[in-house]
């Protein structure tokens, strides 16, 4: 204990010991960094094999399902609907999360078209809220 405290004082004050300590530190440090990442690089392939064995089939199925979705060709009308839908997904997400605590949402079927229909109304009433007063 005392000798450790004694040594640490030397380490801070005298330069040759500092460099010596520095060499030790550098060695321990670099070894640890390598050791850590080498272990990681050995574990990851094992992880891959394990996941492959357990979940391999599921993944392929999903991939083919995804394929079908993206291959559809659409009419302009469909695209308009879908563009409203993307919007609803990403922009209204917060609102939808909000609604989950109420009973209203769960009653209505999800209808992007009617949602689009309500846009103009929202537009008008909403304009009253577009203010900046956050002082």
């Amino acid at each position: 204990m005392m000798s450790a405290a004694f040594m640490s004082i030397i380490v801070v004050q005298s330069s040759p010991v500092d460099i010596e300590s520095g060499l030790g530190i550098a060695l321990v440090g670099m070894t640890t960094v390598f050791f850590g990442l080498v272990i990681l690089s050995l574990v990851l392939p094992a992880l891959e094999r394990w996941v492959e064995d357990r979940f391999g089939l599921d993944r392929k199925k999903k991939a083919s399902l995804l394929q079908q979705d993206t291959d559809k060709s659409m009419t302009p009308v469909e695209v308009a609907a879908v563009s409203a839908a993307i919007h609803v997904h990403f922009c209204l997400l917060d609102q939808i999360e909000n609604m989950k605590l109420t009973w209203e949402t769960h009653e209505k079927p999800f209808t992007p078209w009617r949602l689009a229909g309500r846009a103009e109304h929202i537009q008008e009433s909403g304009s009253l809220q577009n203010r900046v007063r956050s002082r």
Partner: protein, 402 residues
């Protein structure tokens, strides 16, 4: 001696045979491998199980993932003499980063901020539409007080018993708030019990609900809820706050933030504030709160017989609360006529655990009649349960000497 020859000696660790010095072997003693104890491993496994349940079973993932990862991070073994890492380490006055996170828990700051967010995302329409369902949210709080008595019998002191009782409130932030003020050493166990059982509501409640109700009762259809005007929604948080805060001033902090958040949402002129209160602010606090609670479960504090007792008491508490809600619904029915009768399943939602308990009611109701949608009715006692357990917390904070 040349530097290169010294280098060789460093590697073999033989520079100064008998004194403590820096080499690979001594560093190895300071790594997790050198410091590990069985408790660490047990806690890390608990953390992994929580993460598994959150992802696979979808049990309260927003909190179990932060808590689970926090448990792992807080239980990685290390040599505390070298640098501050953990939530309590203090080396020469230096604070660790985890102790700064934990300050938000210890000071009681995080739970009210979460209540602000909950207020800003809760719609009290269901409750406004059928105010008598509020009473079911009151009845379910019986679990809190019976558990308090049970905890006293098991040898906990008053403050600890009060904190353990609040688990029966089925409300994570309330439990953490009370425990942080009255029983900080039990906080980890209480928080984890509260959230675990909130996640397990779909497992715990159904058998109790079935046991205490007849088939006819479960088939009761309730009148559709009425449309609630915006004016009522705006006035509700103000009036409800005034009434509840006068009755239980100890709950001013929690209920104040809950109803403040709701006013921000309903006022119609502070949408951007409500959005941030229930969005980014809530998310950041949830991340830090969960992680901090997790890190505070270091094996030496957590793996005790007390924690086990807390888990047992918590399970009892949840069961009593569920029974309290269901039975009180049946009691009210004695005074109500045909079309106005309450489906007693709805009483189970009085425990809080928003919105899981209400979903359980919906699922149970539809098990017996596919067209009987109880969710909207169950939301009323569900949010009333949040208010009820906050009032209970306020009373306990006022009258239990601490």
């Amino acid at each position: 001696m040349s530097i290169s020859s010294k280098l060789v000696m460093w590697i073999t660790g033989s520079l100064q045979g008998d004194s403590q010095h820096l080499d690979l072997l001594s560093y190895l003693g300071d790594t997790g491998f050198g410091q590990v104890e069985p408790g660490n491993v047990i806690m890390i496994v608990i953390g992994l199980i929580m993460i598994y349940l959150a992802i696979k079973k979808d049990y309260e993932p927003l909190l179990l993932i932060p808590i689970g990862f926090g448990i792992i991070a807080g239980n990685i073994p290390y040599n505390p003499a070298l640098m501050p890492i953990g939530y309590q380490d203090v080396l020469g006055g230096q604070q660790s980063v985890f102790s700064l996170f934990y300050f938000g828990v210890k000071s009681g700051l995080f739970p009210p901020l979460i209540f602000l967010g909950i207020g800003a995302m809760t719609d009290f329409s269901a409750l406004l539409s059928n105010p008598k369902l509020l009473l079911l949210g009151a009845a379910a709080q019986i679990g809190i007080f019976i558990t308090l008595l049970g905890s006293l019998l098991l040898g906990f002191n008053l403050q600890e018993a009060a904190s353990i009782g609040i688990i029966g409130g089925a409300d994570g932030p309330t439990a953490i708030f009370v425990a942080s003020q009255m029983a900080p050493t039990l906080l980890g166990a209480i928080a984890i019990a509260a959230y675990s059982y909130m996640g397990l509501v779909p497992v715990i409640q159904p058998p109790i609900m079935r046991l205490l109700t007849t088939k006819e009762e479960r088939l009761i259809k309730m009148k559709p809820v009425r449309q609630v005007s915006q004016t009522e929604k705006i006035l509700f948080p103000i009036i409800a706050f005034l009434i509840t805060a006068f009755i239980a001033p100890g709950a001013i902090t929690l209920l104040g933030m809950l109803f403040f958040g709701n006013l921000l949402k309903e006022s119609g002129v502070t949408g951007r504030l409500a959005k941030s209160a229930q969005g980014s602010l809530n998310n950041v606090v949830v991340i830090l709160l969960g992680f901090a609670v997790g890190t505070s479960t270091q094996a030496s504090y957590f793996l005790t017989f007390d924690s086990l007792k807390i888990f047992v008491l918590g399970a009892i508490s949840f069961s009593i609360a569920t029974a309290g809600g269901v039975l009180f619904a049946k009691f009210i029915n004695l005074f109500l006529k045909g079309g106005n009768k309450i489906n007693p399943l709805v009483g189970a939602a009085g425990v809080s655990a928003v919105p899981d308990a209400a979903r359980v009611v919906e699922v149970e109701g539809r098990r017996y009649d596919k067209n009987n949608h109880l969710l909207m009715h169950a939301m009323a006692p569900n949010v009333a349960g949040v208010i009820g357990s906050a009032i209970a917390a306020g009373v306990l904070l006022s009258i239990v000497p601490h």
